[in-house]
Symmetry: C3
Subunit: 155 residues, 3 copies
């Protein structure tokens, strides 16, 4: 039996990253009841962190969006592990929390975090439509430009 979400990932030519290991004494996700709480994710490429810097000062809106999209890919990669490999068990992306490392003048955090939100809908369809909070912060771990965490419902 083919899996629907895997098929959609293939059609979108998306290859999920290897789930990133936490940089500290915690775990990438915790399952409680039907909910999966996923730790804050950054943009990690095959060769390490990418899009490091501050949006509005060195990092453009477009790069911020790409960074957010990579955070979302990492979230999905973690959820796939939580689902024992079967992303069709994702009932809903419940909530995303998006933090944008930006200058005091930058106010397009929603557009940045759209990079993550759009991917969720691309991958999960209506089940990818989530509640969301996007805010600016003065700095993020290791100089990440974007960090996104998530809550998912799984079956």
């Amino acid at each position: 039996m083919s899996r629907l979400v895997d098929a959609r990932l293939e059609k979108l030519e998306i290859k999920l990253p290897i789930p990133a290991a936490p940089v500290a004494n915690y775990v990438p996700f915790v399952v409680t009841g039907n909910l999966v709480f996923v730790s804050g994710q950054g943009a990690v490429g095959p060769n390490g962190l990418v899009y490091l810097g501050r949006v509005g000062d060195g990092i453009s809106l477009e790069d911020g969006q790409k960074s957010a999209r990579m955070c979302a890919l990492n979230l999905i990669a973690q959820v796939k592990v939580a689902c024992g490999g079967d992303l069709d068990r994702v009932v809903r992306c419940v909530r995303l929390g998006g933090f944008v490392n930006c200058t005091d003048e930058f106010t397009d955090q929603p557009k940045v975090i759209n990079g993550a939100s759009d991917l969720m809908v691309d991958v999960f369809g209506d089940a990818g439509r989530h509640a969301r909070t996007a805010v600016g912060v003065n700095v993020l771990p290791l100089g990440l430009s974007v960090e996104v965490d998530g809550v998912f419902e799984i079956s």
Copy 2:
């Protein structure tokens, strides 16, 4: 049958705003089990965003509190939709997350977010007493002075 919370709103002379549409590709709330996760809300009036700016620099503590109160009104307006119009289905306001756009020197975030917390208790009574996290940030979407998200338990 009269509805208790609606009656309380009327007594408080509170007219809920029209639920604000998200400014990006996400939804205002997601229901999972008995929980409603509501997206971050700002102070939106009939003519658009209000109280734009930074608390401690242009926005006073009092205006910050009014801004937080309007965030809470928008949260309640969204929850009302989640409840199919019947706010008596709200079992508990579980948690509010409050973000205050403020100067580096401003440390009265709790007093600002009280504008939201007080309203929850006014409207829902003991069911409005919530866990809360209030922090400062250097900037918020579209220049909002306050953003508040919430988790509610409904029956």
Copy 3:
């Protein structure tokens, strides 16, 4: 019957603080289903707030970690109340949200929040391993250097 977590606390020579009262109109925690949402906690000692200031400017990494550890002690103290005094009812520390009041250049938020994460694992063992989000912010309530909130599953 001796309680396992209490015994571990004793072995670690940890005396839980008196649960701190909220500085505003909200409650320290809300229980919904099997989940406890705990309000954001700061470092409160017997004589009031400690480690006030900004990490990277007055507050060292080490002091930030001690501050985070005290936040975690306060979280556990609140959860103990939520459990009617019996910390063995804690099934899992589900999630910690860590906010570090820091300079724009400080990027070791994960190391700071480890002060909280390590304590959870010390006290609860594997049940203390949690999902986590750590971010920097430009300022925190009352000048706290660290604020940590949490979600716990209890039986």
